[in-house]
């Protein structure tokens, strides 16, 4: 018996719970040269904004212990070019497409989502209300409950497919924000986005990123992400997509035991671009070893002390 990897989130069925995280897989073309995208449950695009953005000057990334800092600055082609030039490529790749949307004003989120509403290949939208890398207030949305609710409610008016709210870990109480997102109408919560961090070059005395600070990601933050997923799972009812430091099937199992229905793999793609292939395979093996018929049997099953 092959264990069933299918998961259903907000009425949408995914072949498996493994997705690639926003900003770590472009718009899919490059990864498809390393492995077939149909391996994935879904691909989550780089954050799309209303207008194209070229991003911050280099250096934009810095290696840290078991992690990295980035301040790419939401470099992307803009929603129009995305729909015209990038989305068609994803149409026949037999994977779900989640478009991550970012903005600096509520209206910008609304405008982008309104354009995505009529694009059939788009299965869901993930609202990046938590990017720490834009001055105009990207993070503000995600650290303020009222703003979170309002942003999501506004987008809901123009976008009818399921909406994912991507939460920031850089808050005192993520549950408060999660509840606000749920209240606003988010059908799914994804967490975590990157953790605010900095690094300094001791030779030049300059920050290692031109943005001075950036987002910490990779295995280093996995324990932080797990604690947040656990907290939100125990407080909210909508399905959760776990993100943060996942590099192997064992990590996926940890997130699911804490309550995640699916997961996203980000930084690990830089280290091992075909790691999703291995994760899907090893996840099956794990379920078999444990005699579980479906990956859904793991959800929230952590046995707390």
């Amino acid at each position: 018996m092959t264990p069933d990897l299918k998961v259903t989130i907000a009425g949408v069925e995914f072949a498996n719970p493994i997705m690639t995280a926003s900003g770590c897989c472009g718009y899919g073309e490059e990864l498809h040269r390393v492995f077939p995208l149909k391996t994935l449950g879904a691909l989550v695009t780089k954050s799309i904004t209303l207008h194209p953005r070229s991003g911050h000057p280099v250096p934009r990334t810095a290696e840290t212990a078991s992690g990295m800092l980035n301040a790419i600055g939401l470099a992307n082609v803009g929603v129009d070019a995305f729909i015209k030039d990038k989305l068609p490529f994803l149409e026949d790749k037999q994977t779900r497409v989640i478009v991550n949307v970012a903005g600096s004003k509520i209206q910008e989120y609304v405008d982008v989502c309104a354009r995505l509403e009529d694009c059939p290949p788009v299965d869901m939208v993930e609202l990046n209300i938590s990017c720490p890398n834009v001055d105009e207030g990207g993070m503000e949305f995600g650290s303020n409950a009222a703003l979170t609710e309002k942003t999501i409610a506004s987008v809901k008016k123009v976008f009818t497919k399921p909406l994912i709210a991507k939460l920031s870990p850089n808050v005192t109480d993520i549950v408060e924000i999660a509840r606000a997102a749920e209240q606003g109408g988010a059908e799914v919560l994804s967490l975590i986005n990157s953790v605010v961090g900095a690094a300094i070059d001791i030779n030049t005395w300059q920050p290692k990123l031109t943005n001075n600070k950036g987002g910490l990601t990779g295995p280093a933050i996995k324990p932080i992400a797990l604690a947040k997923v656990d907290a939100v799972y125990n407080a909210c009812t909508v399905p959760i997509i776990g993100i943060g430091g996942i590099t192997c099937a064992a990590d996926v199992v940890e997130f699911m035991l804490c309550g995640a229905t699916a997961v996203q793999v980000g930084t690990a793609l830089f280290i091992e671009p075909d790691v999703p292939v291995k994760i899907v395979k090893d996840l099956k093996t794990y379920l078999k070893q444990k005699g579980l018929a479906s990956v859904a049997n793991l959800r929230g099953k952590v046995r707390k002390y």
Partner: protein, 264 residues
């Protein structure tokens, strides 16, 4: 762009060249013929505390042994660990990556501008051109280093028959000075010929080569370096500003760019 493969392979041969320079031959690897001069690999040593891979230009390929060679200098964390690799050890590589050099017309005279660890891809290009039947006398290989110990694989280069112009800052081997000085003289002297530049080396050298190309209207290509978290174009960490505005990814649109294309 071709597909890339991510796989474990072995150290077939390791050799200390001079100073802190090493050569590593890795294999067996499939589709080794897809590796062209200018392509690079992204390498990881197992169980290390260095999380990200590092990029290394392919220095040559051995199609009969399904192997490729890289040449590296020990400068930091990863290269220090690579210097302790032994024959039979496992490494993981992602290959081939990037955009390769465009070969010159046979009627053109090629000026290679190599410095430091920028030497390997130009050696590969040169040996590749020899196999393709280029006249070695149409290739002028300018090779700069701080000192004699930085000029690698001399006999190997000479064996190709190209015109070899070593230059060292301390004069311990070849001409004394910076490699760009004799190149400018050469360009002035051969103004009538159809020249083409190929440069790979430290930033200053690339800048100078780029300027020479622009100043004397010589077409050519530069191979750039940048910190590369992913190497395949998905992280947007390795970008370089374009003269036309915006950025290009060094790992995907590059590492080989046209003279005048990027802001150095």
């Amino acid at each position: 762009m071709t597909k890339s493969t991510c796989r474990d392979t072995f150290v077939i041969h390791k050799k200390k060249l001079q100073n802190d320079y090493y050569s590593l031959v890795l294999g067996p690897l499939r589709k080794i013929n897809h590796c062209q001069p200018g392509h690079f690999i992204h390498l990881q040593v197992p169980h290390t505390d260095v999380m990200f891979r590092r990029a290394f230009s392919i220095a040559s390929i051995f199609p009969e042994q399904n192997a490729l060679e890289i040449i590296f200098k020990v400068v930091g964390r990863m290269t220090r660990q690579m210097s302790t690799l032994k024959t039979g050890d496992t490494v993981n590589i992602l290959y081939p990556l990037g955009k390769s050099f465009t070969l010159p017309r046979k009627s053109e005279t090629s000026i290679m501008v190599a410095g430091g660890v920028g030497f390997p891809p130009l050696m590969f290009l040169t040996e590749h051109m020899m196999k393709r039947g280029y006249d070695p006398k149409t290739i002028h290989f300018f090779y700069g280093g701080r000192t004699s110990a930085d000029i690698l694989c001399r006999s190997r280069l000479k064996r190709t028959g190209v015109l070899f112009h070593p230059v060292t800052e301390d004069g311990s081997f070849g001409r004394q000075g910076l490699v760009t000085e004799p190149i400018e003289e050469f360009i002035k002297f051969r103004k009538k010929d159809k020249l083409r530049l190929y440069a790979c080396g430290p930033e200053g050298m690339l800048k100078a080569a780029n300027n020479l190309g622009l100043q004397y209207h010589i077409p050519g290509q530069l191979s750039l370096e940048a910190p590369m978290p992913c190497g395949i174009g998905v992280c947007l960490g390795c970008v370089v500003p374009l003269t036309a505005g915006g950025y290009a990814r060094v790992c995907a649109e590059g590492p080989v760019f046209e003279v005048g294309e990027v802001v150095l």
